[in-house]
């Protein structure tokens, strides 16, 4: 281990935590659920922790990532074309000869109330070392107490990833020394994990590489439950603080088969797995908040060869960007080594954000032998079929199913539906749903069928809102234009009380901070659509026709119908929001003798 940090200062913290652990023990004794793990569990209510309030940050990050990917695309496009960058060309040429193969190991924090093997709370953001039981600190003589409720999010995750659930699974000890690991081992499921043989399907909209075609199916080897470690905080120069609130928090580790062959597809896979885990309410937070970490196995081999090359492992990647950049860098490094006649050593490498190359952490000779041993204290875990069935039935809708629903039932285009799902960690989709249901609650159900309405909501939530967001360079938040307000605007528009132009104007006003109720704004600003009389339409159209004889001629003689729309536009502009396009068009046609 290279991070040999001295642990001065630790003792103070530990002295405190030891006391706390001692008092905590009193409450520990009370609980005594155990043993018969093979029956359905009614603790689902206990799992709803405060995951909702942390959603802002990953969005921003995701937007940035998206923008960055776009830039990369553009760059590649330029280089493919006329770029004179020789080095890049050389690299691309190399990629024609070599095939990249990537496997992923994703660690995600389960959304649970208690730790995996103790009744201590799993909340990490409390004062350091307050949620620590005797077992969490590996006190001599202490023993694990499996918390059955942690199975629920674990099963949701595994089922969301289409895994088979093993009726019997076991817990093993993985040994290594580090200061964040109080027992000297991590309890995990190595020999007999609880879930195996799943898969995740990546579509074009998931952001896979163009070369992959679609869809890409990535097989998941296994999903296992395991313990998280304590949180180390370096206090330079030579002190490390340890917070044991995190120790023992239940994690799942998701291991894919090495079936990914493009950098982008790798990060798309991580993204998709995260989206699924969030959709089924299995995890606390996303990648950027430390709720998800990934290790990647990277190898390259000659194109056309069936044999995989020697792989290396890059550990502890905590952002999508790190996944992409580190794989690309490691791929290029391996190709360079092989082309120079060298060979790849099986080793563990590290990645720091913003760097351009992976760094060797330890070689094979320094590789840790984890000495996996079945934990002799923990009985096998039996998961009943009834529990699995129950959870499967109550599983929330997965993103891919949502897509089908949006296109078939809500009439959105596939493109819009995909965008809606993928934006803002699903928050835009939630917003869409809320606006849709608010609006539909204000109109009588006998009115028009919902797909038409849904499509309007989709347009406004995506495009009108999107235009404002990008103009202001602001990340989305439902607070910018509350769903109630959006629904109000759409209702007014649909009921012909305002024109489309006014509706857009209203949206912009609210977006820019106008806090008034929509109806108040309409009244105060005199925006209500006043239906002009037929005479007024006729007069306005006639004036325009008279002034633009040339255009009239082009329409009447050359049948340039596009010019007609120019007249409609002119009328709308002069009408200050009172002219309705369809009426203007009809009037013009009448006067010009068209039908």
């Amino acid at each position: 281990m290279s991070k040999a940090a001295s642990v001065n200062g630790l003792h103070h913290i530990l002295a405190v935590s030891r006391l706390r652990a001692a008092t905590r023990w009193q409450s520990l004794r009370v609980s005594s659920l155990r043993r018969q793990w093979n029956l359905p569990i009614n603790h689902a209510h206990a799992l709803q922790t405060d995951a909702a309030e942390v959603n802002d940050v990953p969005l921003r990050k995701q937007l940035k990532d998206r923008a960055k990917r776009k830039r990369q695309f553009e760059r590649i496009a330029v280089e493919d074309g006329t770029s004179s960058n020789g080095r890049q060309k050389e690299k691309d040429a190399r990629l024609d000869k070599w095939k990249l193969t990537v496997g992923l190991e994703i660690h995600a924090q389960l959304n649970t109330e208690r730790k995996l093997f103790s009744t201590a709370k799993s909340s990490e953001n409390d004062e350091p070392n307050t949620n620590v039981s005797i077992f969490d600190l590996a006190f001599p003589g202490s023993q694990p107490e499996f918390q059955k409720a942690t199975l629920i999010p674990a099963l949701r995750a595994a089922l969301g990833l289409s895994c088979n659930i093993h009726r019997e699974s076991r817990f093993d000890r993985k040994h290594y020394y580090y200061q964040d690991q109080p027992a000297g081992y991590q309890i995990t499921q190595y020999y007999k994990p609880f879930a195996v043989d799943g898969h995740v399907t990546l579509y074009d909209h998931d952001g896979i590489a163009a070369e992959d075609g679609q869809p890409v199916n990535i097989a998941i080897k296994q999903v296992q439950m395991e313990q998280d470690t304590a949180k180390s905080t370096l206090q330079p120069p030579s002190t490390t603080f340890l917070d044991f609130n995190r120790v023992g928090h239940p994690l799942i580790e998701i291991i894919t088969h090495p079936q990914i062959h493009n950098v982008q597809t790798a990060s798309a896979c991580v993204r998709k797995i995260q989206a699924i885990l969030q959709a089924v309410n299995a995890v606390t937070t996303g990648m950027e908040l430390g709720g998800l970490r990934a290790d990647v196995n990277v190898s390259v081999s000659h194109k056309g060869s069936d044999k995989l090359g020697q792989r290396t492992e890059i550990k502890n990647l905590s952002s999508f960007r790190a996944v992409e950049d580190s794989i690309a860098a490691e791929r290029d490094r391996q190709i360079a080594v092989l082309e120079a006649g060298g060979s790849i050593a099986g080793e563990t490498r590290g990645w720091t954000l913003g760097s351009t190359e992976t760094k060797k952490l330890r070689g094979k000779e320094g590789e840790v032998d984890y000495r996996y041993m079945p934990d002799p204290d923990i009985p096998p875990l039996f998961i009943g079929e009834d529990l699995v069935n129950h959870i499967e039935k109550s599983l929330p809708v997965l993103p891919d199913n949502t897509l089908a629903d949006l296109t078939t039932n809500s009439g959105l285009t596939t493109k819009d539906a995909k965008t809606l799902i993928s934006l803002d960690d699903g928050e835009r989709l939630d917003y869409f749903d809320e606006v849709r249901s608010l609006w539909s609650s204000t109109r009588s159900s006998s009115l028009s069928p919902s797909p038409a309405f849904d499509k309007i909501v989709g347009n406004w939530v995506l495009h009108e809102m999107g235009g404002l967001l990008s103009a202001a360079a602001t990340p989305f938040s439902p607070k910018l234009v509350p769903p109630e307000t959006m629904a109000d605007i759409l209702a007014n528009l649909h009921d012909d009380r305002i024109t489309g132009t006014t509706a857009k104007q209203l949206l912009a006003m609210v977006f820019n901070g106008d806090k008034r109720v929509i109806n108040t704004i309409i009244k105060a600003e005199n925006l209500e659509l006043q239906h002009l009389s037929r005479d007024e339409y006729l007069a306005m159209a006639q004036t325009l026709i008279d002034k633009n004889a040339e255009k009239v001629q082009q329409i009447q003689q050359k049948r340039q119908m596009g010019k007609l729309m120019w007249f409609v536009g002119q009328m709308m502009r002069r009408g200050e929001g009172k002219v309705e396009a369809n009426k203007a068009e009809a009037t013009l046609k009448e006067l010009l003798g068209l039908d």
């Binding site: 281990m1 290279s2 040999a4 940090a5 001295s6 642990v7 630790l10 530990l14 030891r18 006391l19 652990a21 001692a22 023990w25 520990l28 004794r29 609980s31 005594s32 659920l33 155990r34 043993r35 005797i134 600190l137 590996a138 006190f139 001599p140 003589g141 202490s142 023993q143 694990p144 107490e145 499996f146 000890r173 040994h175 020394y177 580090y178 200061q179 109080p182 027992a183 000297g184 081992y185 340890l242 032998d369 000495r371 996996y372 041993m373 002799p376 204290d377 923990i378 009985p379």
Partner: protein, 495 residues
């Protein structure tokens, strides 16, 4: 005799036998201790005893957590460690009115057969040979000597491969190891979890039974503790057999004698004692059945693969960060964490077993050692299942041989020899030292109840009263048949 008088006598004995190094810590709060004693004495006089062990002085092996005294496991790495919580067994004893007489010496973390691997003084047997100090057995040697010399009324030990039975045999007392899972291990510092049990050391089997009855029971904090439902299932199972057996003084027991336990290394005096005991039992109407437990020969090797493997894992936590005293040497040099602390604070035998265990769990060796040893463990268990007439209550659905076993209990010697001289241990081949557990390890691997009961050896020609005058007989019974072990012990004690 009043409880006060009895306690005073214990204190006097503690003083007299201080040099035997049985105790490593006395009760911390003497005033409180005296008050508790007084109260128990009054309860006793007024006929309001809380239990059969109310007011009894019970010593606790120092790898079992108590909150008043330190819990050191006789290791430098836990020197000064105070547990913030007590073991379940200690709580249960206190609730029954027992007084904790202090903490007793042991082989570091329970690893040893002579209680000499200790940061404290090596434990010494009260018996000597030609004036030379003899082994008290291990690893619960401190507990055994404390009981044998009247320094307390009973003691708790732990038995992983014989650590209660062997010292009981060497010191001439009763040592009982219950079926695995019947007594809680919460608060018992793990050596090898799948083998560790809390055992009882006493002068006679009825006292052992009283203590055992107090400490047994389901404990939700110990995931290997058998739940109440399983216990009542076992009880029902044993009772059904009991109806068939009609156990009473007049009923004969079928006593098994396994050929494999008659080893070459068995000292003649031990073999004679065994034979004599069997003859006496036959005279009482019990029947003797020679049988074979073929896996016995591999059992010790399997034990010395499995126990160190688990130990290497369990002791990983002693790294100087939370437990253990950080080495003064600069930790973290050469990019190796904790090595200096562990190197400085763990004893040689412990280090040896950690290395052994780490090796047998390593990727290159696990199939050949750890996995094979687990298979041997199954074979050992299968042997016993074939021998006992009572079927294993937890394995009813697994394929046991259709042929019903023929015996109710098995009787063997506990140790192959009388206690060896401590001075001879250093010179002994380490393999020979491990051989001390050869007769006790099989029952540990199978999780069976087992007890060492002293039988006196012939007085002829023995002049020196300080020399050992008993040999330990080991009673084995089917898993869950702990009561039968006690019944058998009473029969042997009455010979």
């Amino acid at each position: 005799m009043s409880l006060l008088r009895k306690a005073e006598r214990c204190f006097a004995n503690q003083h007299t036998h201080k040099l035997l190094a049985a105790f490593v810590a006395a009760p911390k709060d003497i005033t409180l201790f005296q008050q508790d004693l007084q109260a128990a004495d009054e309860r006793s006089k007024e006929g309001r005893r809380k239990s059969l062990i109310d007011g009894q002085l019970i010593a606790i092996k120092d790898n079992i957590c108590t909150t008043e005294e330190p819990t050191t496991c006789s290791s430098a790495i836990l020197n000064g460690f105070h547990s913030p919580y007590p073991a379940t067994v200690v709580e249960k004893l206190k609730a029954a009115g027992a007084l904790i007489a202090g903490k007793t010496n042991l082989d570091e973390f329970g690893m040893g057969s002579h209680s000499t691997n200790s940061i404290y003084e090596a434990v010494k047997n009260i018996y000597t040979q030609n004036g030379d100090a003899l082994s008290a057995g291990g690893s619960s040697g401190g507990s055994a000597v404390a009981v044998a010399t009247g320094q307390c009324d009973a003691a708790l030990g732990t038995d992983t491969g014989g650590s209660v039975r062997l010292p009981a045999a060497y010191t001439g007392i009763v040592g009982f190891k219950p079926s695995y899972g019947l007594v809680s291990r919460w608060g018992v510092v793990a050596y090898a979890n799948s083998l560790d049990t809390v055992g009882v050391l006493t002068k006679n089997s009825s006292m052992a039974r009283s203590v055992y009855d107090t400490i047994k029971g389901y404990d939700p904090r110990d995931p290997t503790s058998l739940p109440t439902s399983t216990r009542s299932k076992i009880d029902k199972y044993v009772t059904n057999r009991g109806a068939k057996l009609q156990r009473s003084s007049s009923t004969s027991l079928r006593i098994g004698v396994p050929r494999e336990y008659n080893t070459e290394e068995l000292q003649p005096i031990v073999r004679e004692a065994w034979l004599k005991t069997l003859q006496q039992l036959r005279k009482l109407g019990h029947t003797i059945h020679v049988l074979s437990l073929p896996a016995t020969k591999m059992a010790l090797s399997a034990y010395y693969v499995l126990a160190p493997a688990e130990a290497s894992s369990n002791l990983a936590k002693y790294d100087g960060v939370r437990y253990g005293n950080k080495s003064a040497d600069r930790e973290g040099t050469d990019n190796v964490l904790f090595a200096a602390t562990r190197g400085a604070s763990l004893g040689d035998e412990v280090k040896k077993r950690i290395l052994l265990g780490s090796y047998s769990l390593s990727a290159a060796a696990i199939d050949n050692y750890f996995i094979k040893a687990q298979k041997v463990r199954r074979l050992v268990q299968g042997d016993f299942n074939n021998a006992f007439s009572l079927r294993h209550p937890l394995l009813q659905h697994q394929g046991q041989s259709s042929q019903e076993g023929q015996v109710d209990v098995i009787l063997t010697p506990t140790a192959q020899s009388l206690p060896p001289k401590i001075s001879s241990l250093d010179k002994a081949d380490p393999l020979q030292a491990y051989g001390a557990d050869v007769l006790t390890a099989p029952a540990s691997l199978a999780g069976l109840p087992s007890m060492s009961v002293p039988v006196s050896v012939s007085d002829d020609g023995r002049q020196d009263l300080k020399e050992p005058n008993t040999v330990g007989m080991q009673i084995l019974a089917q898993f869950g048949d702990d009561d039968l072990v006690f019944d058998m012990a009473r029969v042997i004690e009455s010979l």
